[in-house]
């Protein structure tokens, strides 16, 4: 699984059911989202796949090379 270094502080859901509902247009309240917090410098590999291209384009994350 590809790992990414967080460049800008992020909050994101990790539960597949929550992600599916959000991407389908449900505006879930914060308490239901159960978001995870990642600070700049953190290495994460559980970002919602659908969001990764936009996060890379906006320089919110960068792909971590093997051994990096």
């Amino acid at each position: 699984m590809t790992a990414y270094r967080v460049l800008v502080g992020l909050n994101y859901p990790t539960a597949p059911g929550v992600i599916k509902r959000l991407l389908a247009g449900d505006d879930l309240p914060p308490a239901v989202r159960a978001e995870k917090r990642a600070e700049p410098g953190d290495i994460v590999s559980d970002l919602p796949a659908h969001s990764i291209p936009a996060l890379l384009e906006k320089a919110c994350i960068e792909e971590v090379a093997d051994g990096g």
Binding site: V8, G9, L10, N11, Y12, P13, I19, L22, L23, D27, P29, P30, R33, E35, R37, L47, P48, H50, S51, A54, L55, K58, C60
Partner: protein, 257 residues
Amino acid sequence: MAVRGAADVAFLLVDGYDILGTVTQLNDKQQALTERTDALGDLWEEHTFVGIRTAEITQEGFYDDAAGSVHAALSSGPGNSSRVLCYGPDGTTTGAYFKGLTAVQVDYEVDFRRAELHKARATYKSNGRFDNGRVLFSQAALNGTSQHLGNTVQRVDASGAAATTSTTGGGAGYLQLVSFTSAALATGVRARIQHSSDNAVWADLITFTVATASPFAQRVETTVGIEAYTRMATSYQGGASAQATIFCGLARYAPGG
């Protein structure tokens, strides 16, 4: 926007002071500065916008010397050129419109008359941009726990329809900390404005200075593009619980505006 009345004025905050309860009249005037440009031979005056705007806000109401009220907020203010002022004419719901600016407090006037309650008035002039924005968190108490995430506010286009694209002109975020009572390990409030392109993953857009006491207010500008979805996110420095009441809002700018 709908027709609004006095009951819809939701808040008037000056540097974290909540003074709406004493104010009976609020006047907000924005003006374009012009120069007369008619010349000899012209029959009518002509005026041309010189490219600079100004705003002036005046308030009138009751004099109140209770702690945290209008006298405490404004009596030492004349000459203060960095007062952060926000007011809401459109109700209290998240997403409602608000006005904000950094202002110079020009004066503070108190008026004592026979057979009347004491009155207080103040005038402010803009010290920079006058912002029209949307409320992200409307002067309410935060959760007593370590994190509070606001509801999503989705951008609307010029016709009022929900939009999913970003804006590119940057903007300004506002924080007003009206009250803060620290608890064990909680020494301050860390507030952020976050944005998202898909309402799923949120990135920090504006991070305010950690506020360690109330009243406190801050206006922070950003030049980066702002995604369609925005919200407020707070946590307590130290991580433990506390009690805090805040207002948070965001104004988007048009490109070049």
